[in-house]
Point group: C2
């Protein structure tokens, strides 16, 4: 085996913008979806921050992420045509610049509203002030095409960071991420390969298995071992134990995890009456949405 | 009418702890549930921050909330018996103290494991080191009874803030919040009464209604007016417009919102072919879970 040099993946943060999230009106599923994309792309998502539709609050959260030298900062929400859509202004404020009419974004909006007019969705194809507002990007930003809606995304490179702003509508966010952001991450980010698998354990309370997990974690410091208590069923504890690994070689990373799951299986089956069931990568990560 | 004195509600923040949230493995529904509780209790939730199971990261997020003089800081997750449950240690670190064996928490755990032993869930009622770990609270904290699981919650008063730590298992979090935290908020927090209603609008794109919303917001600065685009259906735009208000008098707050919805209804029906449907408070807030 021997020691390998470890690559530290590029860091990322998500800044979620919207009163509706902090009011409890809307369950934010965007950051969970993005988190999973970043996990599989091999980045290191360090923090998710949700703030209100308030210029200073948004700019503050972005500045903090910049201060932590976060390499990929992704904002969600606040790109639309209304007065309280102010994320791009906040990005500009946080990076000491103004927003300006972005020619690429303008062209995207022209095309978009011409098409919507043809389809009869809007009554005039003209770019009203509310529509033009969506073409105001931070000076120096690149517009990211939105194939699923109107507001273009924005990419601003600032010192060592990239600030990527995506709309809050999930379909639009996903469209821009998949078509514009993921390819950029694949080209520019330091990435790792990841693997995860799990054991679903019936009959062993978390507090009883804790020493076994601590021991395994100590023996295999490259792995991340974690238990998720899932409550009880007819007086029997249910716990999901997951093992993560990351590295450069997909086969090796997979082997490490599967071997650790095997060891866990052996040690936890000593608890009677434990009932164990292996969980695939898909099953472990299926709990998200 | 005249001007009334406005009460500024107590501020709150949520700190979500857990790698599983940042990996995308688990969709965090706890903060949405809490956000809704705080909204109806009349507090001002300013920020939700999700961080990894890392002592410095967690302590850092708590320190930042303290620095913002947040009055109610609620942490979720990381209270369990395993080595990576470290939220209470982080609370201690952020407030310059140690964790100590808390006698109330110890008693709660004794009762709990005696009961689990009787029920046959655990094989010994003894408080093993992993179980005792859950009784280690920041010095000066009060234990909060968990009727739905093992790990007690924790309440630490620190300068003008209260740091409340709840388990990540949703059933346990809800139990402690409802029985221990909500009564405390009702007694100790500055609170407002809130009301919200909405209009579901078919056939008017968000960019076309933006000027109407801006105008209404300018006419009625006490209200918060916001549009949520919901995509398109057969080439027709769907937008949800919501109007929030807060104050001291429930009847007045309701009246303000309903009157604004009436004005909106009138102005938006000028757009042809707009189709409008009123949304109740329950319907507006139903999108969460």
């Amino acid at each position: 085996m021997g020691r390998r040099r470890r690559i530290r993946p590029s860091t990322a943060e998500i800044v979620v913008v919207g009163n509706e999230v902090l009011n409890g009106e809307v369950l934010d599923t965007n950051s969970n979806w993005l988190a999973r994309q970043l996990y599989f792309l091999g980045l290191d998502l360090r923090r998710v921050t949700a703030v209100r539709d308030d210029l200073k609050e948004i700019a503050g959260a972005i500045r903090e992420a910049l201060r932590r030298r976060t390499e990929w900062i992704i904002t969600t929400g606040g790109l639309g045509p209304t007065h309280d859509d102010m994320t791009l202004e906040a990005v500009a404020l946080a990076t000491n610049r103004k927003t300006v009419l972005n020619p690429e974004a303008l062209e995207m909006l022209r095309e978009r509203y011409a098409r919507l007019y043809e389809m009869g969705v809007v009554k005039e194809s003209e770019l009203t002030p509310s529509r033009l507002k969506m073409a105001m990007l931070p000076r120096g930003a690149k517009a990211l095409r939105n194939r699923a809606g109107s507001a273009p995304g924005s990419l601003l490179r600032y010192k060592g960071s990239r600030i990527i702003s995506l709309p809050g509508v999930p379909r639009e966010l996903k469209d821009i991420f998949v078509n514009e952001v993921a390819p950029l991450i694949r080209t520019e980010a330091r990435r790792v390969v990841r693997y995860v698998a799990g054991l679903f354990v019936k009959g062993v309370p978390e507090s009883s298995m804790a020493p076994v997990l601590r021991e395994l974690a100590a023996e295999r410091p490259r792995l991340y071992v974690k238990s998720h208590p899932k409550g009880m069923e007819e007086g029997v504890s249910l716990v999901e134990v997951v093992v993560h690994s990351e590295g450069q070689d997909p086969e090796e990373v997979r082997r490490e995890v599967e071997s650790a799951i095997g060891v866990l299986e052996e040690r936890l089956s000593a608890f009677q009456p434990a009932e164990l069931r292996r969980m695939s990568m898909e099953e472990v990560l299926g709990g998200g949405e």
